[in-house]
Every structure is written in structure tokens, then in C-alpha cells.
Amino acid sequence: MIPPMIAPTSPQAEPQPNPRRTATPSAPPLLEVSDLTKHFLVGGKAGRGRAGGVKAVDGVSFALDRGETLSLVGESGCGKTTTGKSVLRLIEPTAGSVRLEGEELLGLAPSRMRSHRRDMQIIFQDPYASLNPRLSAAEIVAEPMRNFADPAWRGPGALRDRLAWLFAKVGLRPEAMAKLPGEFSGGQRQRLGIARALALKPKLIVCDEPVSALDVSVQAQVVNLLMDLQAEFGLSYLFVAHDLAVVRHISHRVAVMYLGRIVEIAECERLFTDPQHPYTRMLLSAAPIPAPGARTTRVLPIGDPPSALNPPAGCRFHPRCPMARPICRETAPPLIPHGSATGGAHRVACHLVS
């Protein structure tokens, strides 16, 4: 069962129809995260002073369907990367539930968890740090396949064929196999990271800022590659990013996070054209537009984000929100559906949005 050699990029990768609406209602989503919470202890194990530590992620819930891209966006420290890594249990969550195809992952013994790693992979932000500098490109991509037996790569010949196929898939020449990571450019390294993530035929890939370390011209190549691969293999992406423009291109749905919580989640187009939460609006208005004079007015959040060590009571955004009212200081707004047209797909956590 050797996959055939195919040209590195397939031409048909225009916005794919989102298959999640067509799925049978009884089938569980590929990934279901509910009330995910991660507290980091600070100041030693004794935890003197502040009990509970930093609430990096505080009750995050979302679902991800097959073939879908859900982006987590927000500023640094909002918990988006912690959420992504908690899903894979690279960071051990404090509480909550992560279900992959209906099966609970949290609390699984290491050996059981390991067997699920086949289905979920990760692409890291830093293509320099995430590849062992002492292994050749072929060894790096072969590593996951050595961890899990499969008829598709049993035996050296089959493994070699699959490596060649994977390299071609991500647009790397076969000669690249013998090279060390240090001999590649940033974009090529990220392709290597993608080939490695793809090797086990996963269903879910967590993309942790996969293009933010790359040059603009290379960034477009990698974004396109990710979209092509999704179209071809029906991959689901949990796409963690801070660059809203990239997110707009690649996502089906977007969740905006602020200080460990989701403040707004919606279909991609809707979030960008009709943002409801004040923070989402400010985030969109803050992004620079490459057209001189395009931006006339801009509403920005007041001051810097507060520390996650001691998040404000009530709505966490209220100290920076120009529209805050007394209720915002007291009660945390729930994440509730907004508008009837969206069928509950657009949810906002704000007292001021009805």
C-alpha cells in the first residue's frame, strides 16, 4: 500500500465546503474540548501567597469537525498556545475534558495516550528549535513512523518510498533527505516539520503559530501548503496564531481569546465582517493595513493587558474596555449565542451584546 508520487501542490484548493454541517447529527465531532483549565503554579511548589497560580486557560470549550480549521487568536499570554498544547497533553491540563472522536483523553494512562498520538500531531512555531540539529531530514521525518508500526511503511523499502512521497508532498527535493536541519532555510524547515506531522496520517494537527517566524514571501507558500494538504487529506487544524490576516485566509471558524477565556467565536467571515465583542473589534482595528491612508480612526484598548496572575474580576476585559459598565466589573459574562441567523454558531461573552 504505497502511496503514489504526486506533484507537491494540488491546484484545487479554493475555499473548501465545510463538511461539518453535512455530517450526520449523531456522529461526535472530531475534537470536543470542554471547560479546559490550566493553572500554572508560581513561586515554587509551596504556592504561598496566591493559591491557584496563573490561570493560563480558564474554562475553554469548543468543538472541531473533520476537515475544519478552527483558529485560536489573541495576544501573547491569552492562553492560546497553552490550549493547543493541552489538547495534545504536551501540557497537562488542570481540569476539563478533551474528547477525540468521543473518547476522553485526559486521565488516560501514558501507553493508551501514546496510541492516540497517531491521530493528533503538532507543527511548532519555531522551525529552528523543533528539529533536532543532529539528525538528518530523513531521520526526522521517519521518527514517528518508527514509533508506530503500519503496513504502509513496514520494511526499509516501504519506509523509503513513504519518505520520498512525504518529501514530495511538502515540496522538498529528495536530495534534501540527507541534509541536516542547519542546512535548510526557515521555510524549508517548516516544510520538514509539516512532513513529520503528516507522516502518521493524523486526523488533527495543532498548528502553533506555524508561519509567524517566516518571511512574508515564504509565509504565503506555507499557508498554501497547509490548505492544499487539508483539501487532499481532510485534515482538521487547530490553528493558533496572532496574525489576523493569516487567520482570515486559512480558517473556517475563529475563536478570540483574552486572558484564558474565549470572548467570541464565530464563522470566519462573520467574525471579520461583523465582530461583536469590543476586544475583537479593537484587535481588528489595531492590525496595520498595507494601504496608506486606509486607516483614519482607530479605537485601541486602554493600556497593557493585565497579568494573568491576578486577572480582574467580572469581565476580564473591563479595565481596558472603553464601554465598560458597572455590571462588567462584577459578573463574568457567559459565552452565549448571538443573533438568530447563525444557529448558535456565533457566540459572544459580553454584557453589552444582546
Binding site: P292, A294, D304, P305
Partner: protein
């Protein structure tokens, strides 16, 4: 030593910064790396010049050359001159250079945490920068530090001056860096990716702050960035660099209206836009060449859709500088303009 520049303005004053045909090379065991190879640009007071390009294009090396902050060797000035208010900086002694650095020319860097001393309070660091160049007492220097922190809109500057860098957020540290850089009221500020490490909301605040400060203090700013969005928001003129050379220079409006060089156009097309719909992005095939691998001809030719035999053979000269919109390309004749690239950005305007 002040030699009047031939391009002096009407009042006879030389431009604030005038870089002519600068060549900064690095001698490495693998051969000479021409990081900057014949770059020229000028900057007047109160002007912001954007230097755009991808990693390795030489934009930072050019800036570090101005301050002579590159270790020599391996760096070597293989030609050209850097005139600052008429004085060629390359001809100055290290001692004379120290009097200029941080005093008349300042620089801010991408990573504010590594540029600040973690064991000194920020007030002390600013005060020390002031006393280094000006003969004022310690109390006055401290007053100046507090004043500078207020200028960069840090709330409660008296208290903040007594804090250490790690007690501050990233955005606040970058404000401190700016305060430090502007403490001696320099004539020229070089900002090397000043907002790249910051979140978008903080980036917007910092860019606004820089605009405000420029209006107040009147310094010239060289803004080095890879982000065309940043350029569009805060620059007057732009220099686009590729592989150690200037490939295009224009006013910001001109550049975004009619980008001439195929690289500039491809760069604009490959940027994902907040306004555009999803779907594939325009790619620039291939990758930025390593400076030691540069051959003959235009460095962009291997990736350029318009490249001809001639492009691969000869290096195009920079032409059209007199019109204010110059380009180094054989194929960039206006007739060849393809409006494809422009649609998205034209559509971006409200």
C-alpha cells in the same frame, strides 16, 4: 570636518542622513559575504523613511553600519560613505563616534528585554544615558528620566522610574527603550523592527507614540521593518531592499499605488490581507538567496516571472531616482504594469 553636500537643500544645509553607495561586506572563512552592496538613501529631518525587506536583505546591516556597531572584522566597509549632517561617519574615530551614538543618533531594537540592563532601574538607565553625553547633575538627570517616561506616556512615571525592566510588560519596556533612545533628543532615530515582538494592539500604540514624538521633537526616523502594513501606517518614503541592494524607492503613496519592481509587487500580493476573502495566497516561488550564493545578474531573477536572459546576465542599475520613484529593474517599464496585484489593496480602501 564638514563638507557641504552637493545635494544640499535650498538653505544650503546638508541632508540629515545621506548614505551613498554603501558596501558592507563580511569576510568569512567561506568567502566574502556582500550583506550590503551599493545602497544609497537620504533622509531629512522630520521625515520617516521605511526600509523594507525580508531577513538577510541587509536592512539591519545598513542601519548598524550607520552607527558603526558592527564588529570589524569580520565586517568591512568596502566602499561608499555615510554622511550625517554632512559628516562622513565612516571617517570618524571610535571616540568621535561614541559622542554621536546615543546622543545625536539613537537606535531602538526589536527585543526590548535584552537591550535593557536587568539589574538597574529604568530611571537609572535613562539618567546614565543622559549624564554620559551632557554635563548635568544626578538629580537633574533623574528628573530628565522621569520626564522622558512621561513623554512616552508611561502612567505614574515617578514610581515607574524606580522599577526594574522585568517588572514591566513588553509594551512598557519598548516605551522605556524609546525614552532611553530619545533622552538626549537625537536628530536621528533608527528603529530596527521596533514592534515585531509586540502584540498588535501594543504595536498600534507604539507606532502612534513614535508619530507623536516625531511631531514634538522633530527627529528623522529610519524605520526598518518586514511589515508593509507598518510602512503604510507610519512612513513618508520607502526603500525596498532585496539581497543587499535597493530595488525600489518611492513615497509611500506611490509605492502602494504603483509598485514597479516585480519583487515589491510580489511581496504585496503574497501578504494575506484582512480585507480579502480566504483562499490561496499568491506565492513567490523559491526563497531568498543566501548572500554568499549570489551570482551575476539581478538577485531576484531566479524567482521573477518577468526575468529575461539579460536579467540573469547583468545587474540592473537603480534608475529614476530623480523622479522620486526609482527602481532597479530592466523589465519595470510602466507599460508592463499588471493591475492584478493592485486590486486587493485598492479594494481595501473604504
Amino acid at each position: 570636518m564638514t563638507v557641504p553636500s552637493p545635494q544640499a537643500d535650498q538653505a544650503g544645509r546638508p541632508p540629515l542622513l545621506d548614505i551613498r553607495d554603501l558596501r558592507t561586506h563580511f569576510d568569512t572563512p567561506d568567502g566574502t559575504v556582500r550583506s550590503v552592496d551599493g545602497v544609497s538613501y537620504r533622509l531629512e529631518a522630520r521625515e520617516t523613511l521605511g526600509i523594507v525587506g525580508e531577513s538577510g536583505c541587509g536592512k539591519s546591516v545598513t542601519a548598524l553600519s550607520v552607527l558603526r556597531l558592527l564588529p570589524t572584522p569580520p565586517a568591512r566597509f568596502a566602499g561608499g560613505e555615510i554622511r550625517f549632517q554632512g559628516t562622513d561617519l565612516l571617517g570618524l574615530s571610535e571616540r568621535e563616534m561614541r559622542r554621536i551614538r546615543g546622543n545625536r543618533i539613537s537606535m531602538i531594537f526589536q527585543e526590548p528585554m535584552t537591550s535593557l540592563n536587568p539589574v538597574l532601574t529604568v530611571g537609572r538607565q535613562i539618567a546614565e544615558a543622559v549624564t554620559l553625553h551632557q554635563k548635568i547633575g544626578r538629580r537633574q538627570a533623574w528628573q530628565r528620566a522621569v520626564e522622558m517616561l512621561r513623554l512616552v506616556q508611561i502612567a505614574d512615571p515617578e514610581r515607574r522610574a524606580g522599577e526594574y525592566p522585568h517588572q514591566m510588560s513588553g509594551g512598557m519596556r519598548q516605551r522605556v527603550m524609546i525614552a532611553l533612545a530619545l533622552a538626549c533628543h537625537p536628530d536621528l532615530l533608527i528603529a530596527d523592527e521596533p514592534t515585531t515582538a509586540l502584540d498588535v494592539t501594543i504595536q498600534a500604540q507604539i507606532l502612534e507614540l513614535l508619530r507623536d514624538l516625531q511631531a514634538k521633537l522633530g527627529m528623522g526616523i529610519v524605520m526598518i521593518t518586514h511589515d508593509l502594513g507598518v510602512v503604510a501606517e507610519c512612513c513618508d518614503r520607502v526603500v525596498v531592499m532585496y539581497a543587499g541592494r535597493k530595488v525600489e524607492e518611492a513615497s509611500v503613496a506611490d509605492l502602494f499605488e504603483r509598485p514597479l519592481h516585480p519583487y515589491t509587487r510580489a511581496l504585496m500580493a503574497s501578504m494575506p490581507s484582512l480585507q480579502g476573502r480566504g483562499g490561496r495566497l499568491a506565492e513567490i516561488p523559491g526563497m531568498v538567496p543566501a548572500p554568499q550564493e549570489l551570482g551575476t545578474g539581478c538577485a531576484f531573477a531566479p524567482r521573477c516571472p518577468l526575468a529575461t536572459e539579460r536579467c540573469r546576465r547583468e545587474t540592473p542599475d537603480f534608475t529614476g531616482a530623480a523622479t522620486g520613484h526609482g527602481v532597479a529593474c530592466f523589465e519595470a517599464a510602466p507599460a508592463r504594469h499588471q493591475p492584478v496585484v493592485l486590486h486587493r489593496h485598492a479594494g481595501a480602501r473604504p
